[in-house]
Point group: C2
Chain length 208, copies 2
Protein backbone atom coordinates (compact mmCIF):
# COMPACT_ATOMS: atom_id res chain seq x y z
CA UNK A 1 0.00 0.00 0.00
CA UNK A 2 1.20 3.52 -0.79
CA UNK A 3 2.00 5.91 2.04
CA UNK A 4 -0.50 8.70 2.52
CA UNK A 5 0.54 11.85 0.67
CA UNK A 6 1.54 15.17 2.20
CA UNK A 7 -0.83 18.13 2.46
CA UNK A 8 1.14 21.23 1.49
CA UNK A 9 -0.21 24.73 1.99
CA UNK A 10 1.63 27.39 0.03
CA UNK A 11 1.09 31.07 0.81
CA UNK A 12 2.86 34.14 -0.42
CA UNK A 13 1.96 37.68 -1.40
CA UNK A 14 1.20 38.75 -4.94
CA UNK A 15 4.64 39.13 -6.53
CA UNK A 16 6.25 36.38 -4.46
CA UNK A 17 6.42 34.17 -7.54
CA UNK A 18 4.02 31.57 -6.19
CA UNK A 19 2.12 30.78 -9.39
CA UNK A 20 5.32 30.34 -11.39
CA UNK A 21 6.78 28.06 -8.71
CA UNK A 22 3.55 26.01 -8.60
CA UNK A 23 3.65 25.55 -12.39
CA UNK A 24 7.30 24.44 -12.18
CA UNK A 25 6.47 21.90 -9.45
CA UNK A 26 3.54 20.41 -11.40
CA UNK A 27 5.80 20.23 -14.45
CA UNK A 28 8.55 18.33 -12.56
CA UNK A 29 6.54 15.54 -10.94
CA UNK A 30 3.22 13.89 -11.70
CA UNK A 31 2.51 12.98 -8.09
CA UNK A 32 0.81 16.27 -7.18
CA UNK A 33 -2.87 16.95 -6.81
CA UNK A 34 -3.62 20.62 -7.24
CA UNK A 35 -6.72 21.46 -5.21
CA UNK A 36 -9.62 23.34 -6.82
CA UNK A 37 -11.54 25.84 -4.70
CA UNK A 38 -15.30 26.16 -4.47
CA UNK A 39 -16.77 29.61 -5.00
CA UNK A 40 -20.15 31.34 -5.12
CA UNK A 41 -19.00 33.90 -7.67
CA UNK A 42 -20.13 33.64 -11.29
CA UNK A 43 -17.80 32.02 -13.82
CA UNK A 44 -15.88 34.46 -15.96
CA UNK A 45 -15.77 33.88 -19.73
CA UNK A 46 -13.67 30.76 -20.43
CA UNK A 47 -13.72 29.46 -16.83
CA UNK A 48 -14.88 25.86 -16.44
CA UNK A 49 -16.58 24.17 -13.51
CA UNK A 50 -14.20 21.61 -11.97
CA UNK A 51 -11.18 23.13 -13.73
CA UNK A 52 -10.79 26.72 -12.50
CA UNK A 53 -13.28 26.46 -9.62
CA UNK A 54 -16.21 24.45 -8.42
CA UNK A 55 -18.99 26.97 -9.04
CA UNK A 56 -21.70 26.51 -6.42
CA UNK A 57 -24.75 28.39 -5.14
CA UNK A 58 -24.64 30.22 -1.84
CA UNK A 59 -27.05 27.65 -0.33
CA UNK A 60 -24.76 24.81 -1.33
CA UNK A 61 -21.75 26.73 0.03
CA UNK A 62 -23.45 27.28 3.37
CA UNK A 63 -24.39 23.61 3.47
CA UNK A 64 -20.71 22.71 2.91
CA UNK A 65 -19.75 24.87 5.91
CA UNK A 66 -22.46 23.31 8.11
CA UNK A 67 -21.47 19.79 7.09
CA UNK A 68 -17.80 20.55 7.78
CA UNK A 69 -16.91 19.81 4.17
CA UNK A 70 -14.46 22.71 3.85
CA UNK A 71 -10.89 22.87 5.15
CA UNK A 72 -11.07 26.67 5.15
CA UNK A 73 -13.31 29.36 3.75
CA UNK A 74 -13.50 33.13 3.45
CA UNK A 75 -15.62 35.86 1.95
CA UNK A 76 -14.02 38.32 -0.45
CA UNK A 77 -15.86 41.27 -2.06
CA UNK A 78 -19.23 39.60 -1.51
CA UNK A 79 -18.28 36.14 -2.80
CA UNK A 80 -17.42 33.01 -0.83
CA UNK A 81 -14.36 30.89 -1.49
CA UNK A 82 -13.49 27.60 0.18
CA UNK A 83 -11.40 24.43 -0.02
CA UNK A 84 -13.45 21.20 -0.21
CA UNK A 85 -11.92 18.46 1.96
CA UNK A 86 -13.33 15.43 0.10
CA UNK A 87 -11.22 15.42 -3.08
CA UNK A 88 -8.13 16.31 -1.02
CA UNK A 89 -8.48 13.36 1.34
CA UNK A 90 -9.13 11.07 -1.60
CA UNK A 91 -5.91 12.25 -3.29
CA UNK A 92 -3.91 11.94 -0.04
CA UNK A 93 -5.18 8.37 0.44
CA UNK A 94 -3.98 7.55 -3.07
CA UNK A 95 -0.50 8.72 -2.02
CA UNK A 96 -0.65 11.99 -3.95
CA UNK A 97 0.92 15.13 -2.49
CA UNK A 98 -1.69 17.87 -2.37
CA UNK A 99 -0.74 21.47 -3.16
CA UNK A 100 -2.99 24.20 -1.81
CA UNK A 101 -2.50 27.82 -2.87
CA UNK A 102 -4.09 29.67 0.06
CA UNK A 103 -3.78 33.13 1.58
CA UNK A 104 -2.62 33.55 5.17
CA UNK A 105 -5.98 33.51 6.99
CA UNK A 106 -7.03 30.30 5.22
CA UNK A 107 -3.65 28.73 5.91
CA UNK A 108 -4.12 29.31 9.64
CA UNK A 109 -7.61 27.73 9.46
CA UNK A 110 -6.11 24.65 7.80
CA UNK A 111 -3.35 24.44 10.40
CA UNK A 112 -5.93 24.23 13.20
CA UNK A 113 -7.92 21.50 11.41
CA UNK A 114 -5.08 19.46 9.95
CA UNK A 115 -2.12 19.26 12.29
CA UNK A 116 -0.19 17.21 9.72
CA UNK A 117 -0.44 19.92 7.04
CA UNK A 118 2.90 21.42 6.01
CA UNK A 119 2.76 25.21 5.76
CA UNK A 120 5.19 26.96 3.44
CA UNK A 121 5.46 30.72 3.01
CA UNK A 122 7.09 32.10 -0.12
CA UNK A 123 8.92 35.42 0.18
CA UNK A 124 10.41 37.47 -2.62
CA UNK A 125 14.20 37.93 -2.32
CA UNK A 126 13.89 41.68 -1.54
CA UNK A 127 11.50 44.60 -1.47
CA UNK A 128 13.08 45.97 -4.65
CA UNK A 129 12.43 42.69 -6.46
CA UNK A 130 8.85 42.50 -5.16
CA UNK A 131 8.22 46.06 -6.33
CA UNK A 132 9.85 45.34 -9.71
CA UNK A 133 7.69 42.22 -10.22
CA UNK A 134 4.45 44.01 -9.38
CA UNK A 135 5.36 46.97 -11.62
CA UNK A 136 6.37 44.72 -14.53
CA UNK A 137 2.75 43.63 -15.04
CA UNK A 138 2.16 46.53 -17.42
CA UNK A 139 -1.62 46.70 -17.06
CA UNK A 140 -1.88 47.36 -13.30
CA UNK A 141 -2.72 50.94 -12.24
CA UNK A 142 -0.24 52.57 -9.79
CA UNK A 143 -2.69 52.78 -6.86
CA UNK A 144 -3.41 49.05 -7.19
CA UNK A 145 0.33 48.30 -7.17
CA UNK A 146 0.73 50.42 -4.04
CA UNK A 147 -2.14 48.53 -2.35
CA UNK A 148 -0.60 45.17 -3.30
CA UNK A 149 2.78 46.21 -1.91
CA UNK A 150 1.14 47.19 1.38
CA UNK A 151 -0.78 43.90 1.53
CA UNK A 152 2.43 42.02 0.75
CA UNK A 153 4.29 43.66 3.65
CA UNK A 154 1.39 42.93 6.01
CA UNK A 155 1.37 39.26 4.96
CA UNK A 156 5.15 38.95 5.20
CA UNK A 157 4.95 39.69 8.93
CA UNK A 158 3.09 36.37 9.29
CA UNK A 159 5.81 34.30 7.58
CA UNK A 160 7.32 33.15 10.93
CA UNK A 161 3.95 31.48 11.76
CA UNK A 162 4.58 28.96 8.97
CA UNK A 163 6.62 25.75 9.16
CA UNK A 164 8.95 26.77 6.36
CA UNK A 165 9.97 29.91 4.53
CA UNK A 166 11.22 29.64 0.95
CA UNK A 167 12.81 32.48 -1.00
CA UNK A 168 11.92 32.91 -4.67
CA UNK A 169 15.30 34.11 -5.87
CA UNK A 170 14.95 31.86 -8.94
CA UNK A 171 12.11 29.58 -10.07
CA UNK A 172 14.35 26.51 -10.08
CA UNK A 173 15.84 27.31 -6.68
CA UNK A 174 12.52 27.78 -4.95
CA UNK A 175 11.06 24.64 -6.58
CA UNK A 176 14.13 22.72 -5.33
CA UNK A 177 13.48 24.02 -1.81
CA UNK A 178 9.82 23.00 -1.89
CA UNK A 179 10.70 19.54 -3.22
CA UNK A 180 13.29 19.07 -0.47
CA UNK A 181 10.66 20.04 2.12
CA UNK A 182 8.15 17.51 0.72
CA UNK A 183 10.77 14.74 0.56
CA UNK A 184 12.00 15.51 4.07
CA UNK A 185 8.46 15.59 5.49
CA UNK A 186 7.93 12.05 4.17
CA UNK A 187 10.86 11.02 6.42
CA UNK A 188 9.38 12.64 9.57
CA UNK A 189 9.48 10.15 12.42
CA UNK A 190 5.73 10.53 13.04
CA UNK A 191 5.09 9.36 9.48
CA UNK A 192 7.82 6.71 9.28
CA UNK A 193 7.28 5.24 12.76
CA UNK A 194 4.47 3.23 11.19
CA UNK A 195 7.00 1.67 8.79
CA UNK A 196 9.29 0.66 11.64
CA UNK A 197 6.40 -0.77 13.63
CA UNK A 198 4.45 -2.53 10.89
CA UNK A 199 6.89 -3.32 8.12
CA UNK A 200 9.85 -4.07 10.36
CA UNK A 201 8.79 -5.43 13.74
CA UNK A 202 5.59 -7.14 12.65
CA UNK A 203 7.56 -8.92 9.95
CA UNK A 204 10.19 -10.40 12.29
CA UNK A 205 10.79 -14.12 11.72
CA UNK A 206 9.24 -16.37 14.45
CA UNK A 207 12.62 -17.31 16.00
CA UNK A 208 13.56 -13.67 16.86
Amino acid sequence: MKDRGILIVLSGPSGSGKSTAMAELLHRRDNYYFSISATTRDPRPGEQDGVNYWFVTRERFEQMIRRDELLEHAEYVGNCYGTPAGPIDEALDQGKDVLLDIEVQGAMQIRSRRTDAVLIFMVPPSYEELSRRLNSRGDTPPDKIKARLETALRELHLAPEYDYIVVSETVDGVADEIEAIIDAEKCRAQRRAKFVKEDFFNALPPHV
Copy 2:
Protein backbone atom coordinates in the same frame (compact mmCIF):
# COMPACT_ATOMS: atom_id res chain seq x y z
CA MET B 1 27.43 36.55 6.00
CA LYS B 2 26.80 32.83 5.64
CA ASP B 3 23.88 31.24 7.48
CA ARG B 4 24.86 29.06 10.41
CA GLY B 5 25.12 25.40 9.40
CA ILE B 6 22.90 22.55 10.55
CA LEU B 7 23.93 20.12 13.30
CA ILE B 8 22.92 16.64 12.12
CA VAL B 9 23.01 13.63 14.43
CA LEU B 10 22.86 10.30 12.62
CA SER B 11 22.19 7.10 14.54
CA GLY B 12 21.52 3.60 13.36
CA PRO B 13 22.39 0.07 14.39
CA SER B 14 25.34 -1.86 13.06
CA GLY B 15 24.14 -3.10 9.66
CA SER B 16 21.90 -0.09 9.00
CA GLY B 17 24.31 1.11 6.33
CA LYS B 18 25.27 4.27 8.19
CA SER B 19 28.99 4.34 7.36
CA THR B 20 28.37 3.79 3.65
CA ALA B 21 25.72 6.54 3.61
CA MET B 22 28.07 8.92 5.46
CA ALA B 23 30.82 8.27 2.91
CA GLU B 24 28.38 8.92 0.05
CA LEU B 25 27.26 12.23 1.63
CA LEU B 26 30.83 13.46 2.15
CA HIS B 27 31.57 12.49 -1.46
CA ARG B 28 28.59 14.47 -2.83
CA ARG B 29 29.12 17.84 -1.14
CA ASP B 30 32.11 19.61 0.34
CA ASN B 31 30.06 21.59 2.85
CA TYR B 32 30.13 18.92 5.59
CA TYR B 33 32.21 18.86 8.71
CA PHE B 34 32.56 15.35 10.04
CA SER B 35 33.04 15.53 13.79
CA ILE B 36 35.91 13.67 15.47
CA SER B 37 35.34 12.12 18.90
CA ALA B 38 37.64 12.39 21.89
CA THR B 39 38.57 9.13 23.63
CA THR B 40 40.68 7.89 26.53
CA ARG B 41 41.45 4.60 24.82
CA ASP B 42 44.90 3.96 23.36
CA PRO B 43 45.41 4.50 19.62
CA ARG B 44 45.38 1.28 17.57
CA PRO B 45 48.14 0.77 14.99
CA GLY B 46 47.66 3.26 12.16
CA GLU B 47 45.21 5.51 14.05
CA GLN B 48 46.16 9.20 14.11
CA ASP B 49 45.35 11.87 16.68
CA GLY B 50 43.00 14.42 15.15
CA VAL B 51 42.07 12.10 12.29
CA ASN B 52 40.43 9.00 13.79
CA TYR B 53 40.02 10.38 17.31
CA TRP B 54 41.36 13.00 19.63
CA PHE B 55 43.34 10.79 22.00
CA VAL B 56 43.28 12.32 25.49
CA THR B 57 44.14 11.28 29.04
CA ARG B 58 41.41 10.45 31.52
CA GLU B 59 42.26 13.63 33.50
CA ARG B 60 41.82 15.77 30.41
CA PHE B 61 38.57 13.95 29.57
CA GLU B 62 37.20 14.59 33.06
CA GLN B 63 38.21 18.22 32.75
CA MET B 64 36.30 18.44 29.46
CA ILE B 65 33.19 17.12 31.22
CA ARG B 66 33.57 19.58 34.12
CA ARG B 67 34.09 22.52 31.76
CA ASP B 68 31.05 21.51 29.72
CA GLU B 69 33.20 21.08 26.63
CA LEU B 70 31.42 17.91 25.45
CA LEU B 71 28.07 17.68 23.68
CA GLU B 72 27.71 14.09 24.90
CA HIS B 73 29.87 11.41 26.43
CA ALA B 74 29.73 7.77 27.45
CA GLU B 75 31.89 5.01 28.87
CA TYR B 76 32.25 1.79 26.89
CA VAL B 77 34.29 -1.22 28.08
CA GLY B 78 36.35 0.95 30.41
CA ASN B 79 37.11 3.74 27.95
CA CYS B 80 35.50 7.16 27.67
CA TYR B 81 34.22 8.60 24.39
CA GLY B 82 32.85 12.10 23.86
CA THR B 83 32.00 14.78 21.30
CA PRO B 84 33.91 18.07 21.76
CA ALA B 85 31.65 21.09 21.22
CA GLY B 86 34.36 23.62 20.24
CA PRO B 87 35.27 22.45 16.72
CA ILE B 88 31.58 21.79 15.98
CA ASP B 89 30.47 25.32 16.86
CA GLU B 90 33.34 26.75 14.86
CA ALA B 91 32.29 24.72 11.79
CA LEU B 92 28.61 25.68 12.24
CA ASP B 93 29.55 29.37 12.48
CA GLN B 94 31.43 29.01 9.18
CA GLY B 95 28.18 27.76 7.60
CA LYS B 96 29.26 24.11 7.45
CA ASP B 97 26.75 21.35 8.09
CA VAL B 98 28.07 19.11 10.85
CA LEU B 99 27.54 15.33 10.70
CA LEU B 100 27.72 13.40 13.96
CA ASP B 101 27.69 9.61 13.97
CA ILE B 102 26.39 8.89 17.48
CA GLU B 103 24.60 5.99 19.17
CA VAL B 104 21.15 6.47 20.66
CA GLN B 105 22.08 7.45 24.24
CA GLY B 106 24.49 10.12 23.01
CA ALA B 107 21.93 11.38 20.51
CA MET B 108 19.44 11.95 23.33
CA GLN B 109 22.10 13.85 25.34
CA ILE B 110 22.70 16.11 22.33
CA ARG B 111 18.98 16.71 21.86
CA SER B 112 18.70 18.02 25.42
CA ARG B 113 21.68 20.37 25.00
CA ARG B 114 21.12 21.54 21.45
CA THR B 115 17.46 22.01 20.68
CA ASP B 116 18.28 22.97 17.09
CA ALA B 117 20.08 19.66 16.36
CA VAL B 118 18.41 17.51 13.70
CA LEU B 119 18.20 13.86 14.74
CA ILE B 120 18.05 11.23 12.00
CA PHE B 121 17.70 7.49 12.61
CA MET B 122 18.71 5.08 9.86
CA VAL B 123 16.84 1.78 9.66
CA PRO B 124 17.64 -1.15 7.40
CA PRO B 125 14.82 -2.00 4.95
CA SER B 126 13.98 -5.30 6.72
CA TYR B 127 15.17 -7.74 9.34
CA GLU B 128 16.24 -10.16 6.59
CA GLU B 129 18.42 -7.46 5.01
CA LEU B 130 19.89 -6.45 8.39
CA SER B 131 20.72 -10.08 9.13
CA ARG B 132 22.19 -10.56 5.64
CA ARG B 133 24.40 -7.47 6.01
CA LEU B 134 25.74 -8.53 9.41
CA ASN B 135 26.40 -12.07 8.18
CA SER B 136 28.13 -10.90 5.01
CA ARG B 137 31.07 -9.55 7.03
CA GLY B 138 32.83 -12.91 6.80
CA ASP B 139 35.07 -12.49 9.84
CA THR B 140 32.42 -12.03 12.56
CA PRO B 141 31.75 -15.01 14.85
CA PRO B 142 28.06 -16.17 15.01
CA ASP B 143 27.54 -15.24 18.69
CA LYS B 144 28.75 -11.70 17.95
CA ILE B 145 26.33 -11.46 15.01
CA LYS B 146 23.50 -12.64 17.26
CA ALA B 147 24.43 -10.00 19.89
CA ARG B 148 24.52 -7.26 17.22
CA LEU B 149 21.11 -8.28 15.89
CA GLU B 150 19.68 -8.08 19.42
CA THR B 151 21.27 -4.66 19.99
CA ALA B 152 19.93 -3.49 16.61
CA LEU B 153 16.36 -4.49 17.51
CA ARG B 154 16.66 -2.75 20.89
CA GLU B 155 17.90 0.45 19.23
CA LEU B 156 15.24 0.34 16.51
CA HIS B 157 12.55 0.71 19.18
CA LEU B 158 13.96 4.21 19.83
CA ALA B 159 13.65 5.34 16.20
CA PRO B 160 10.35 7.20 16.84
CA GLU B 161 12.20 9.45 19.35
CA TYR B 162 14.13 10.97 16.45
CA ASP B 163 13.05 13.82 14.16
CA TYR B 164 13.41 11.77 11.00
CA ILE B 165 13.67 8.12 10.01
CA VAL B 166 15.48 7.21 6.81
CA VAL B 167 15.47 3.75 5.24
CA SER B 168 18.70 2.42 3.74
CA GLU B 169 17.16 0.52 0.85
CA THR B 170 19.94 1.82 -1.44
CA VAL B 171 22.95 4.02 -0.71
CA ASP B 172 21.83 6.66 -3.22
CA GLY B 173 18.27 6.66 -1.98
CA VAL B 174 19.16 7.13 1.66
CA ALA B 175 21.72 9.84 0.83
CA ASP B 176 19.01 11.64 -1.18
CA GLU B 177 16.71 11.48 1.84
CA ILE B 178 19.34 12.90 4.19
CA GLU B 179 20.18 15.70 1.73
CA ALA B 180 16.49 16.58 1.41
CA ILE B 181 16.24 16.73 5.22
CA ILE B 182 19.26 19.05 5.47
CA ASP B 183 17.97 21.31 2.67
CA ALA B 184 14.48 21.41 4.17
CA GLU B 185 15.81 22.19 7.66
CA LYS B 186 17.58 25.25 6.22
CA CYS B 187 14.11 26.50 5.18
CA ARG B 188 12.58 26.06 8.66
CA ALA B 189 10.74 29.20 9.65
CA GLN B 190 12.76 29.52 12.90
CA ARG B 191 15.94 29.69 10.81
CA ARG B 192 14.60 31.82 7.95
CA ALA B 193 12.61 34.25 10.09
CA LYS B 194 15.90 36.09 10.57
CA PHE B 195 16.16 36.58 6.81
CA VAL B 196 12.66 38.05 6.62
CA LYS B 197 13.32 40.33 9.56
CA GLU B 198 16.86 41.49 8.81
CA ASP B 199 17.35 41.13 5.07
CA PHE B 200 13.83 42.09 4.07
CA PHE B 201 12.23 44.48 6.55
CA ASN B 202 15.39 46.22 7.73
CA ALA B 203 16.27 46.90 4.10
CA LEU B 204 13.01 48.63 3.22
CA PRO B 205 13.49 51.92 1.38
CA PRO B 206 12.81 55.01 3.58
CA HIS B 207 9.52 55.96 1.85
CA VAL B 208 7.80 52.61 2.69
